[in-house]
């Protein structure tokens, strides 16, 4: 009895010892800011009390919940729509492209792969700037130059809500697809070919193979990346803000996700305590959201 117990204890010690460096880094860089934000959210740290702030209890939370007024619900709904549209398109397109890249006998596979990840090789703000000024600009943008050549009148791509939403989605897909393609591409290669061979013998078609073999096989591998991408998409700020709302370059479109909404209604006040409370509230909303869509975060064993 005793040796077994010691062995178990040893396993625990061993496990924590080996994963300690990684967990410690996560504590420092990821968890500490959350705890710190939580702490600041209980204080009155702002421009007038930058160094001499005091604990003031839940006052910031009371005000933070007031922010979530009439403008907040549309922003939340839009964020959900944005997340769903982007994730569905991203997964479908990435899956199709990754499957094509894995076609047997494709000689230029590596070249295609490298070209497809090009958007990834540039810092995000450079890409967004390039799209905004190079592609969508209504005076000089490439799209309007093409429109003109085709005999259409120029379009203000980023001015209307609907069209700006589509443009932002295009840019977001452009930025995010390389990651998804790489992940799915890698996962596809780990699928055991013998499964397909037996399926082929059974006369299964492409769709059947996809649904019954490929997707179940790659799901555990891509699940963490997909969940992480869902969160990043939900929290997306740069694309929408830089494309349509950047200070000095607003385009007239009113597409607000909860993060851009929180930015305009809280972060610009320089009230750090209050902004922290808003951050924590968004954090909680997102966690609830993730539980609603998926009772238990995927951890396949």
């Amino acid at each position: 009895m005793k040796p077994l117990k010691t062995k178990k204890k040893n396993t625990i010690l061993f496990s924590y010892l080996w994963s300690m460096p990684s967990l410690l880094l996560i504590c420092l860089i990821v968890i500490f800011p959350i705890i710190y934000t939580g702490y600041i959210s209980l204080t009155n740290m702002n421009v007038y009390h930058w160094f001499t702030y005091d604990l003031i209890g839940l006052k910031n939370y009371r005000e933070a919940l007031l922010v979530f007024d009439s403008g907040f619900i549309p922003a939340l709904l839009l964020t959900i729509l944005w997340t769903v549209v982007n994730m569905v398109l991203q997964l479908v397109i990435a899956y199709v492209l990754a499957s094509l890249l894995n076609t047997k006998g494709l000689r230029l596979r590596n070249l295609y792969r490298t070209l497809l990840v090009f958007p990834w090789a540039m810092p995000g703000y450079v890409s967004i700037l390039l799209w905004k000024t190079g592609m969508f600009n209504s005076q000089f943008g490439l799209l309007n130059q093409w429109m003109e050549k085709l005999g259409f009148s120029p379009i203000k791509w980023l001015a209307g809500d609907g069209i700006a939403f589509i443009c932002c989605t295009v840019v977001n897909l452009w930025l995010a697809l390389p990651f998804m393609i790489t992940i799915i591409d890698g996962a596809l290669q780990s699928v055991d070919q013998s499964f397909y061979e037996s399926a082929l013998l059974d006369g299964a078609g492409w769709i059947e193979r996809t649904v019954y073999i490929t997707i179940p096989s790659i799901r555990p591998i891509i699940a963490p990346s997909v969940i992480i991408t869902i969160f990043t998409t939900f929290k997306q700020f740069d694309v929408i803000y830089l494309m349509t709302q950047q200070a000095g370059a607003k385009t007239g479109a009113h597409i607000h996700t909860i993060l851009t909404y929180a930015y305009e209604n809280a972060f610009i006040t320089n009230n750090y305590g209050y902004s922290s409370a808003v951050s924590i509230v968004i954090f909680v909303i997102l966690i609830i959201f993730s539980y609603v869509i998926n009772r238990k975060p995927k951890e396949e064993v």
Binding site: Y16, C27, Q139, A249, T269, N270
Partner: protein, 406 residues
């Protein structure tokens, strides 16, 4: 499980400990006191000229002029941390209120006698640099927006003197990809000129927003017809490219546009702002004073060196050299005795215009107004919303957000 919690807790406590025991600096060595770090966000030409001037007059001081992107945000973050904060920073006067309230700025009069400052500098620059009765900035040069035109299209005698003349010109010339006049019509900094021209304001000196004033609304209503004859995009790149490529005949722009346009070979003219017919006041954009602010830590621990640097910065040579590279008006009066300044038409036009306009408010509340006012402008100019409703809503929003600052 208990052990996990215990170990996690101890990590958190360890981190807390590490954070709280941030070293109070023990006195600086002679050598450290001789280093002056200055943050700035200026173009390379201005920075180089400034550094050369300082090095020439103070060879014994180790001056480090460091370019900092996102300077204003970085300063909020580093606060007064002697390990990371600069000793001085070179920036516009409009953020003084924020940093003064944060408690990281030293009033400049602690280092230079007030009388000396008042004798040396152009009055309006010191007014701009004052917050709650204290002067926080040593002004170096000041700037504002100017009316610029391309002589290829607009002859000197055709330059509009009133806004109605400007509108007539725009109506006549705006077609086929050409524009009579362009400006960044939906940003607060550019549109402030129109609002001031009607006697309204975005925010007054006491930190009170004025977006729902009848004057502001009148300005917005009047301005709309001009916007209709301008491109839909209002951001810097579009407006300036149109002007520099010769697609727009005239514009409102800052001094930086002067050198760029001349370098591109344009015969550029500069004229006074057109007068608004209804009010008789010219379009009056904001004035900004670029100058040096001193952080508290440096003022207390490097007093002598900082004083030396400030003295060197007040020499007329510095103002003259910087005026030439930046196209702005020097803040030190003595500069205007130099032939090279008097003969420079851009610099003189700048002084003329800037002295008769309104400095940007420097109170912390102004940080909010840039965003709220821009939202309002976009709603009116680009989304076609009702002027009165938009102004009222923006005023309410501004008041709410100001409330939330505390």
């Amino acid at each position: 499980m208990k052990r996990i919690i215990a170990s996690l807790l101890s990590i958190v406590m360890l981190m807390g400990l590490l954070c709280s025991c941030g070293g109070k600096s023990q006195g600086l060595t002679e050598e450290e006191r001789n280093i002056i770090v200055i943050w700035h966000d200026k173009e390379e030409a201005v920075a180089e000229a400034l550094l050369t001037e300082l090095q020439n007059s103070l060879p014994e001081v180790d001056i480090r002029l460091e370019y900092k992107s996102n300077l204003t945000e970085a300063l909020k973050m580093v606060g007064n941390d002697p390990k990371a904060a600069p000793d001085l920073y070179f920036f516009a006067h409009d953020k003084i209120g924020v940093y003064a309230e944060m408690g990281i700025l030293e009033p400049i009069t602690e280092l230079i006698a007030k009388e000396k400052l008042e004798n040396a500098c152009v009055g309006i620059t010191l007014d701009a640099a004052s917050y709650k009765g204290e002067i926080y900035q040593l002004p170096i040069y000041f700037e504002t927006l100017l009316f610029m035109y391309n002589r290829l299209y607009m002859a000197d005698e055709k330059v509009p003197e009133t806004t109605e003349e400007l509108y007539a010109y725009m109506e006549e010339k705006t077609h086929g990809g050409h524009y009579g006049f362009v400006e960044q019509h939906s940003t607060a900094y550019y549109s402030a000129g129109w609002i001031h021209g009607f006697g309204g304001y975005i925010m007054n000196g006491e930190g009170k927003p004025g977006l729902n004033m009848p004057e502001t609304m009148a300005a917005m209503e009047y301005h709309k017809k001009f916007v209709e004859l301008m491109p839909g995009e209002s951001e810097y790149a579009t407006v300036n490219t149109l002007f520099q490529e010769g697609k727009a005949h005239s514009t409102i722009g800052g001094p930086w546009l002067v050198s760029a346009s001349r370098a591109a070979g344009m015969d550029l003219g500069i004229a006074p702002m057109p007068v608004i017919d209804e009010s008789g006041i010219p379009v009056s954009p904001y004035m900004g004073v670029q100058g040096v602010q001193v952080l508290k830590y440096a003022a207390e621990n490097k007093t002598d060196t900082v004083k030396k640097v400030l003295d060197a910065l007040m020499q007329p040579e510095v103002g003259i050299v910087l005026a030439k590279v930046s196209g702005c008006a020097p803040a030190v009066k003595a500069c205007y005795e130099a032939e090279e300044v008097i003969s420079d038409d851009v610099v003189m036009a700048m002084r003329e215009t800037a002295e008769n306009t309104i400095p940007m408010p420097n109170c912390p509340e102004m940080d909010i107004m840039w965003t709220v006012a821009a939202d309002m402008l976009v709603n009116i100019n680009m989304s076609g919303q009702d002027v009165k409703e938009s102004c009222e809503a923006a005023q309410k929003k501004a008041e709410e957000l100001i409330d939330k600052m505390q």
